[in-house]
Subunit: 586 residues, 2 copies
């Protein structure tokens, strides 16, 4: 869908000042006009139609009554509209976070009980508080340590877990299990127990949804509908599936033949709820809440950044943390469960032309109306239909190509993906995520502790120096020239110590060591002490340490240190000068 040109006054991100820089709504709200209103309202209508079935389905996925999904899509949308920096992000229940919610609460309460709901509310509260704290402390950078391969592997494995878990309502079998192996083997054992009516209903809905998703829009366009309208009709597929299957169930009284239906859904405003204040429960939920916060944040920020850049806008990660924190706190106090910015709904919102977060406010109003008025109509909706909605939604998240891509490009990244996927499928979402993060962090620390250190030599006929391993260069047995290609700090300076000790041990004629510092932007206190130790050891061995091409800011800080006071060697402006003076060629 091509994007309509937007009114510049609203669309261009001007620098906001004062309070408006903290509350984006004051910025875009002041300049709100009628054209923007119309676009936002249209987008909200489409997103509402899409969100109703998704919200119901994701609440079931989290082990909660479907209506809780509606509650979780109202206050969070409103609060994000006030605090968020993305113009088009739509906040609410999403698949992976719902699965993580189910995994976190599964061992603490029985799904369907009031206790289970209270724990879900408490989880949203803790997650909101953590996001808010991370935002205020500007800890958004922590999300950087969730690498892309880990995220891809995690989402793929989670989607497979979700799909496997939905086979139970989809086929009417009783498959239980906490990991993929249990779910898959349970399914094989239960294949003869499949409930025919449920399986036909579920299968038909999956087929219908896949068809509307892939073939309906082109068909409608061929039939002469305008592209935009065809798109809206195709987007309504899940709503149509819900209406159609509910009607069929009611018409043929399929629920009397064992087809499970949603049943009575309470009608009315979201309830005012409070989290549990039981500190023991908080302790049990702390790690899951942190993981949910980080995963939710990363998903939300990636979507937000992608969409913002398309219109040359930008989002601010630390303020996104605050906005998502407020959204989750809102969910906790209005009967919801953990939420975040969703990929598909935000893309739909963007494609439908949403200009400002007001579209989110209108969407919230639409879902509120649904909670007030539409819930009786949900009575006959088969649970298999919700399961089908989930399966079709999550299968698009499966990306098995990540294995091939990382294997071809980078083995450490492949190892991180593999660990994440295997642990997630085998031991569950939390173990998988933790394994992936720890492995990629360990590989990262390992890599950063090995800086690239090259011995350099003079390129004949020039004044420049290159790696002796890659170029034909001149060196001298008395003089060792080393170039460190990274800033020196505690994690990598020991590698330099080791290298110099090694060279010292195998070069009996060595008299001078010159460190070419052209790539060193910073030397921390540990590295400074190590350089002092290196210099001391070289002095003890009768070798003089020198530096060349030290950058200005680094030199300024070194000036008053013990290192330069004890140094017997010199600091040369260029490496060529160093060599000319210490080991003149010829």
């Amino acid at each position: 869908m091509t994007e309509p040109a937007a009114p510049a006054a609203v669309n261009r991100a001007l620098p906001a000042t004062g309070l408006a820089s903290h509350l984006p709504i004051l910025d875009w709200g002041r300049r709100y006009d009628r054209g923007t209103f119309t676009r936002d309202l249209m987008a909200a209508l489409i997103v509402t139609i899409m969100l109703i079935p998704q919200s119901l389905a994701y609440a079931s996925l989290a082990g909660l009554p479907p209506v809780v999904g509606l509650y979780a899509s109202i206050a969070p949308l409103l609060l994000y509209a006030v605090f968020g920096t993305s113009r088009v992000l739509a906040v609410g229940p999403v698949a992976v976070v719902s699965l993580m919610t189910a995994a976190a609460i599964g061992n603490l309460a029985v799904p369907g009980t009031p206790e289970y709901w209270t724990v879900a509310i408490t989880l949203a509260f803790l997650s909101g508080a953590m996001l808010l704290a991370m935002g205020l402390l500007r800890l958004g950078f922590l999300a950087n340590f969730l690498s892309h391969p880990v995220i891809s592997g995690f989402i793929t494995a989670s989607a497979l877990l979700i799909a496997a878990g939905q086979l139970k309502p989809l086929l009417g079998v009783r498959v239980e299990g906490h990991n993929f192996v249990e779910l898959a083997s349970g399914l094989v054992r239960q294949l003869d127990q499949v409930h025919a009516v449920t399986a036909v209903m579920g299968g038909a809905t999956v087929a219908l949804l896949l068809w509307t998703r892939r073939a309906l829009k082109p068909l409608l366009v061929r039939l002469g509908l305008p592209t935009g309208l065809a798109d809206v009709v195709a987007k309504a597929g899940p709503v149509a599936a819900i209406a159609l299957t509910a009607w069929v169930t009611w018409q043929f009284r399929l629920h009397e033949q064992g087809l499970k239906i949603v049943g009575t859904v309470p009608q009315g405003l979201p309830p005012l709820t409070l989290p549990s204040w039981d500190l023991g429960l908080w302790q049990q939920l702390a790690v899951p809440a942190l993981l949910i916060s980080v995963v939710g944040f990363v998903e939300s920020v990636s979507v937000g950044q992608t969409l913002a850049a398309k219109r040359r806008q930008r989002i601010e990660p630390d303020r996104e943390l605050v906005a998502l924190g407020a959204s989750n706190l809102g969910a906790a106090f209005s009967g919801g469960f953990p939420v975040t910015g969703g990929f598909s709904r935000s893309v739909v919102n963007y494609d439908a032309g949403a200009q400002t977060p007001a579209a989110g406010i209108f969407t919230a109003a639409g879902i509120l109306l649904a909670a007030l008025l539409l819930t009786p109509a949900l009575y006959f909706v088969p649970q298999a239909t919700l399961a089908a909605t989930i399966v079709v939604a999550v299968l698009s998240l499966v990306d098995l190509g990540i294995f091939k891509r990382t294997w071809a490009y980078s083995k450490p990244d492949f190892a991180a993906v593999l660990a994440t996927v295997l642990f997630t499928l085998g031991l569950g979402v939390e173990a998988g995520l933790i394994a992936g993060v720890l492995l990629s962090l360990a590989l990262f620390l390992h890599r950063t502790s090995r800086p690239h250190i090259a011995e350099v030599g003079l390129v004949p006929g020039t004044e420049s120096y290159r790696n002796v391993l890659r170029h034909e260069v001149q060196t001298s047995p008395q003089l060792l020239s080393l170039r460190v290609d990274e800033s020196l700090y505690f994690a990598n300076v020991r590698a330099l110590e080791d290298r110099i000790n090694e060279e010292l041990a195998r070069r009996p004629a060595l008299k001078h060591v010159v460190l070419q510092c052209s790539a060193i932007n910073d030397i921390d206190a540990s590295a400074l002490e190590s350089l002092e130790a290196i210099d001391q050891r070289l002095q003890d061995a009768g070798v003089v340490l020198h530096f060349s091409e030290v950058k200005g800011p680094v030199m300024d800080r070194l000036k008053d240190t013990q290192l330069l006071r004890q140094l017997r060697g010199q600091v040369f402006l260029t490496h060529y000068q160093a060599q000319q003076q210490l080991a003149p060629a010829g």
Copy 2:
């Protein structure tokens, strides 16, 4: 002391092959000759004299019977001689590790009981197993993440804690406490309870030790003794203090006036002992054992590297882990407790002219003789004398200058020192070390997640590009030239995304972005995906992404990726070519 020239055959580290590369003893042992033997034996004699009082004292510090200190100095020395890569490192009980041992066991058993000893043996076993595993898995780089400021702060705070804890045996007061505040306030309250005889004995011993340490050697030299002999006599100060105070105690029967003495010390070979196999205990000891392993390894490697470099030898950190692991396992099976390479004893060994690890074997034999023959002579040694030995030894570890130096040089490092010292003094050694490591790691991750990204412009009249903030350069509103001064990986690539999004939002005329990649040595899979996302977003915004000066190895890997397939822009050999083509000046 000037170092005597050593026989070249033994002293020069020749490349070892086959099994000898794993067992250094096969390397130096083959070439062992009589001259080396004499030197090693002399060094061993001096180190033995020094080690006996130290071993007794550090065992008391760890809450164990003094004789355990002798046991812990025999098998570990032998095993290190077989596996170690340093020629002169002396392994045994050291102050900080003994304090950490006491802290680890304090809550699990009562000092002086057989259970306490068993826990100490188990701690040595676990620590040995961890060191061995880290060595075999080549995880020595993990020690790099203990930054120098954290180590200095930790050792200083530990030394203060140790000294405060020794006031009890030194003054005869009853001061109990797990942290510095408790110890110090306890002391003030108990000042009127000081046991006069004990305090006089303790004070006099401290004075005597300080005097032998500082004034005795110069005095002896002035009296005409050769420097070498004066040094040996001065080194014997602690032994003399032990003999003298024991004689005074026996002569004046001071133990009948309330002076606490060492009492009966069992005579004989170290016992053959086994660790506890109680997994619950292992779990409780896991974290302390890991911390003891890492601290011991770092202390040992720094000493080893410093001394090896003086003779142009080198040590291999991963094999040092194996050697220290074997030493601690040896300690566990011969009635000892956690050990590591000690600073002062290794320096003494080196100064005394030790040439090979055989000096360690001779030292072990000397201490074995002491355990067999000398222990009855220890009966009258006052506990205050051992306390005085400890206090004098650890006060030299206190380095309050670290605060001033880090404050002047680097505020993040200062914060890490301060946190380590305060947590160690206030909450104990484990909390202090963990706080220091986590804080410095967090500061490190924070720093690495913010790579240096400079907008560059053309220096007029040249073909070279410099940071626009520091130089007078030419730029163009259509073209943005960015130079990233680090390799791109998951931890820092989001900063590049943010920066490009920001520039995109504030430059309406932008048509081309060129990334100058001269400083990029590696691009991991996350960074690759981010670059694809950046390119996609720029394309959506009508801007073309280009690269310049991509290094050969990086280009080789990029060749078959989606990034280069989807890229609309070009990869230029030089940044100048890029600008000439995209935004020709004038």
